[in-house]
Point group: C2
Chain length 481, copies 2
């Protein structure tokens, strides 16, 4: 039997943190005279009560985690946080249905950014900042998980990023120290981004909310027209910059602080991300200018913003790229799958996996010519063990397979072809918007049937937790072991 | 330096076979009084002349093939056959442009079945039978290649199908014997199918042509309305049966002939293919009946035919499934990638690769729970070597990657989103029709820009030759080695 106590203990701690986070929207709503402050206060009290109850009743079980407990904790923690995070949506003046409330909350903590709320411009400030907080917490949660948990659990090739210092006995103190340092960096970047956005013309509230959702590559906006609302080229470029900063492995920022300012640019994953971004921007700009849709400055501005937004899986919009023609739609569809770097707030397949996939396929091609030769795949100058190659290539298969099954399921509950396909990709890659008039950059998820929303919650969770973490729970082996 | 002589020798032999095959449409056209018989006679003479010239000038170089020569031969042979096979299209009364003629011929020999010809019902019989012959030759060509060549070249996991008897010194005589036996089975199945179709009401010519393109899972029809022209439920089911027969590994038929009639049903690849087919048919029938589009008998008839046609990559149509709604479109889109069994005439990713992919991903999930355990992926009761898993998973990545790049390239030259995406899938999986009004089951490829047609020729060749075979030629390593 699995010992659930350490799992429930950690979930209790996380719920308590969530409860304190709810004090922020409560304060904001109270200060601006919105009655919703009571909803946040009540939801916070419930979360705190459950959290503390869990901590108190299970602390006796605290100890080292087994691998199975680790997997269960990760999936369960994310699901429970989404559940409690949904309370304010269900009971605020928006009165979202259970499916809508969970969808909005899950889309928040997984940093997906797909929304069912129409009328953001008129929404109470508490709800707006709560959406930003969910994404911001989800962002730092995923970074800490990618650094401290997933490599140890060997999820989808993440063992490549096992921090060497962890190979000692003092895993826990070292992980806690690293997580603390990175949280400070995350907070610092968010503050810097907020100041930048504010200095460029956003009001203070919008600046803080967008800073939080940009660094988390989450994409929730305070405006129905998303970042397009501000209609400013410098704001577009500034937000693009912050989204890129959120897509870089956060451990690299620690190296920057330790006197290696060029560390991010020396990282092959970051380099490839920038190369892919630049190529997509150049190609799409050329396409738009050639087609006469925009002059070069506007083309550059809109493609930069939207390519960065889609590939990093942020999901802000400034322009309805559904109207840019077939080539733009295909490029955006493909970019959804790419994602940013491992150890950042982005989701998707991620750059390092494409590097490993390409290197592995390359060695296979070489082996065809010299069946008895020994060829190693390299990542970042080091040979990739075959088990890591198998882990990454299996991840790719499961990602595409999950995408296909989700697309079919969404079509079965009534979505049209273009919506179902792009919706599935957008959910599993935690992007946010899809393609087409319904869920495209100018639409929302509000009109989708409830079954579709439940399916999408599962898809977002699967994608955010790198598939393996959730799928392993469905192996009969897991519960027998 | 590579010695090209053995390569050119074999190509010379194949061209001579092609030349003799051209005698058939020449005879048919002459018998029915069509002037096109001269085109076939001239094209045959040219092919024969070049073929014999190649044989005579290079026979001195005959000897054992190196691996590199093997790869070059396969790609070059398929391209050259497509080129000479295009001659009749360019010079017949259809007067196809160079891009159209090569497209039609490449679509024929790769058994894709995408057509640029509008007005098949009124086309001269020589051209109609020539299209069928190209697919029929392509079909047997691919079976022989899958049995005798690809396993030795270890392409994309095909080493699983290395015939044990080949592990001796007498590879060549054994391969030749096996190829001969299988060709007889192929011919026998074609004749039986033609008799069946004729007995069910097709005229002799249609019966023979459809038998050739059904067993080859090619999908060229003699009618603009494809098999829908005959509007007969029994013909639909009979053609479905022959398409399934064409999707089974042909070595299994030899076992049937050797007194093991149930051999195909004992093969796990065949079983899974039938399970996937049956599931898709059941799901789609339920969807159509539930949506009120068809009564159950019609729903079963149309879904059986079209599911079999798309999944086996044949590409006949009896009903415009583009009008069946979003779920049907997503299912057909996904089925395009699946394909049939290795060692048959089908293309696509193929059932055995999905079995290996699932088994490999399964072992990765088990390893997550027990990092130090040893877990083997199994295929057909035998452990799959890790190199085979890597070969198959790399194949999957390259297949999806090639699909994505081709879709982007097609959109760049002007295709809309739905057409570009489904066109790329259909070409690489050698299916034939795509989705949407342009290239859907009711459309043709005639209106596509020439650049798109050239790109599709490359895509069809890539897919038919299992990617690796062609991609290996693009490695600098290949030409240096
Ligand atoms: K997002
Ligand atoms: K076909």
């Amino acid at each position: 039997m699995l010992d659930f106590r350490p799992i429930l203990f950690v979930i209790g701690v996380l719920l308590s943190v969530l409860a304190f986070a709810m004090a922020i929207p409560a304060t904001v709503d109270a200060a601006s005279g919105h009655a919703d402050w009571q909803v946040f206060a009540a939801a916070g009290a419930v979360s705190l009560f459950v959290g503390i109850a869990l901590v108190l009743t299970t602390r006796s079980g605290w100890g080292a985690f087994s691998v199975r407990q680790g997997f269960l904790l990760v999936s369960l923690a994310w699901a429970v946080i989404a559940l409690f995070g949904a309370l304010p949506f269900a009971f605020s003046e928006l009165r979202l249905s259970p499916a809508d409330a969970l969808f909005e909350s899950m889309s928040g903590v997984t940093t997906t950014g797909a929304t069912v709320i129409v009328g953001l411009d008129a929404a109470p400030p508490g709800i707006l900042i709560w959406r930003a907080i969910l994404q911001w917490l989800g962002g730092i949660g995923i970074i800490v998980m990618a650094i401290a948990v997933l490599p140890v659990l060997r999820v989808g090739g993440m063992q490549l990023f096992r921090v060497e210092a962890f190979e000692t006995d003092k895993i826990l103190p070292r992980a806690a120290q690293l997580a603390g340092e990175i949280s400070i960096v995350y907070l610092g970047l968010t503050a810097a981004a907020a100041l930048l956005f504010w200095s460029l013309g956003m009001d203070g509230f919008d600046a803080v909310a967008h800073a939080m959702t940009a660094i988390a590559t989450g994409g929730y906006s305070t405006r129905d027209a998303s970042v397009g609302h501000f209609d400013s080229a410098v704001i577009d470029y500034a937000v693009s910059l912050v989204m890129v900063l959120g897509s870089i492995p956060f451990v690299l920022y620690l190296r920057v602080l330790r006197g290696k300012p060029l560390a991010p640019l020396r990282d092959s994953q970051v380099r490839w991300m920038l190369i892919v971004l630049a190529s997509a921007i150049a190609l799409l700009s050329a396409w738009l200018v050639h087609g006469g849709q925009f002059a070069l400055p506007d083309a550059l501005r809109y493609t930069t913003f939207n390519v960065v937004s889609v590939m990093t899986g942020t999901g802000y919009a400034t322009n309805d790229f559904d109207l840019w023609g077939g080539f733009a739609m295909v490029v955006f569809f493909l970019l959804m799958f790419v994602g940013g770097c491992a150890g950042s707030t982005t989701c998707g397949i991620k750059i390092f996996r494409f590097q490993v996939l390409a290197a592995t396929a390359g060695t296979q091609l070489k082996r065809l010519m010299h069946p008895h030769g020994v060829f190693l795949a390299y990542y970042h100058g080091k040979p990739v063990p075959e088990q890591v190659s198998l882990s990454v290539t299996s991840f790719f298969f499961l990602f595409i397979g999950a995408f296909g099954l989700l697309a079919a399921a969404l079509a079965l509950v009534g979505l049209d072809y273009v919506t179902a396909i792009s919706c599935a990709a957008s959910a599993i890659a935690n992007v946010g918007p899809g393609l087409g008039p319904i869920i495209g950059p100018a639409g929302t998820y509000a009109s989708l049937p409830d079954t579709a929303k439940w399916l999408l919650c599962l898809g977002m969770l699967l994608g955010r937790l790198e598939l393996f973490t959730v799928l392993v729970l469905f192996m009969p082996h897991f519960w027998r072991g």
